[in-house]
Amino acid sequence: MSGDFSSLRSDIPQLTREVHGRRLVYLDSAATSLTPRSVIEAMDQYYERHHSNVHRAVYLTAEEATAAFEGARADIASFISAPGGAEEVVFTHGTTESFNLIAHGWGARHLGPDSAIVLTEMEHHANLVPWFQLRERLGFEIRFLTVTDDFRLDLSNLDELLHGASLISFTGISNVLGTVNPVAEIAKRAHAVGVRVVVDGAQLVAHHPVDVEALGIDAICFGAHKMMGPTGIGAVWAKRDMWAEMDPFMGGGAMIADVSLDGYVPAPDNRRFEAGTPPIAEAVGFAAAIRYLRGWDMAALQAHEDTLTAEALRRLADVAPGRLRIIGPPTLDQRAGVISLDLDGVHPHDIAQVLDQHGVCVRPGHHCAKPLMKRFGLSATVRVSFGPYNTSSDIDVLIDALTAADAMFR
């Protein structure tokens, strides 16, 4: 399968770069993905021909910009099979803003001293801190699903935690462990007791085909820059009836029906969730990224990344045996191409630094998941993560570089 994707590499300008005299081996797609030429060109076209502010204007380029912007919304809706179409998609500036929008838009209306929500110990800070901030104000309870020693969500007390809660928010794929969570199962059990289900799709939507209706969830947050799109844009999809339960987050132009000196009336439709001039060029780039991913087919891209992941897991077992630990599921079973490593006695920063000299881009650190790090008694890991443009020979370089790093510090 890998072979089929070699031509994909030539779509990515950055892959032709050399760093420190070496071929760039980019293994940090969980942080941000590289950008195909077609995405860059779509934004160029926008800035060179169609740039205008959207909505409310009647001239040609403004109509073109509006059509492109709203078309991107429809493309996103269709990419995740949103049952209600474009009207269920709200643009944000990234996954982080998406969670802030849900926390404030939904939480502020529904949460108080007597209510509870459920999060998990493997969440990214984006799905923790907004809830903590809201809790400071409203004083509700936050319960946590814990993580088992084999890097899975411990669902043994799920029903107990859901009892009396009003919302559960959890990640589809862990950005540290690579664990793929059983979204549909959790959603089903939550809905059985009337609990709303929000999913962190930052990694999931970027790497797996997603059908929100099949998953049976109420909302999902994701962003373009991890799915070969531009920085500065993300989205929330939520079911129509979930949106109906939400208040505006930010205030400003475009999200209003009326404003006077006495106050404001929010727009009756989902425009009330988008304040100010939106990320227009970014929406154009987002749509181009989706076209690009669809052109290769998400299921095929996932299969390609799965193959690489399996190979990497196998070959890593031979590096510094007994001292290199994989912090995440050891096989492809319910796991994706995010591989966290702990090399006994060598700090992740030092490993990453040596890898950089080999042209290998990996990320050391807590990956914005400090509670999860603590769960495993770590302050940091080295994280290797795949994108569609990676190949088996990237793994060769990785293994050599890791071996060199180990030799240096051992």
Binding site: H20, H347, P348, H349, D350, Q353, V354, Q357, P364, G365, H366, M373, S379, A380, M408, F409
Partner: protein, 150 residues
């Protein structure tokens, strides 16, 4: 791998593998402060016993990368038994070495830094400068928050 050799000189690896003045001191009489690099999780605690104006003892605990841990060790060796004003002076020189302090001044006399000069390769790696400076900032904290004003 030139840059890398610059960064990971033998002196650094030696101090990383065999850190000097490792451990704790009872507080009080010793004073201590904890330093933290939130971006990468490096952590150091610096314990200092002052005898008048002299750093009569210093011990360090912590976890982190080779740069932060070697820098802690090098620092402890450099200031132990020295006066606090000598320590402040070294701190200033070290910050200049790391080009954090860009107030104009004399160029850094690398020789006078002794072993600490081994860290000068860090400057080529901006992300690591914070690792190198952590122990020094923590020492600064101990001395300035606990010691009587100079």
């Amino acid at each position: 791998m030139d840059g890398l050799d610059d960064l990971y000189k033998d002196i650094i690896l030696d101090h990383y593998r065999s850190p000097r003045n490792r451990g704790e001191l009872p507080v009080p009489p010793a004073m201590s402060a904890e330093g933290f690099n939130p971006l990468c999780g490096d952590q150091v605690t610096v314990y200092v016993t002052l005898d008048g104006d002299t750093i009569s003892d210093i011990k360090i605990t912590g976890t982190g990368c080779s740069i932060s841990q070697a820098s802690s060790s090098l620092m402890s060796a450099a200031v132990k038994g020295k006066t606090t004003s000598f320590a402040y002076d070294r701190l200033a020189v070290f910050k200049r070495l790391m080009t954090i302090d860009d107030t104009p001044g004399e160029p850094v006399n690398v020789r006078e830094l002794g072993e600490m000069a081994a860290l000068q390769g860090v400057v080529q790696f901006p992300a690591r400068i914070k690792c190198a400076i952590l122990a020094w900032n923590t020492l600064d904290q101990v001395l300035s928050t606990h010691a009587s004003p100079q």
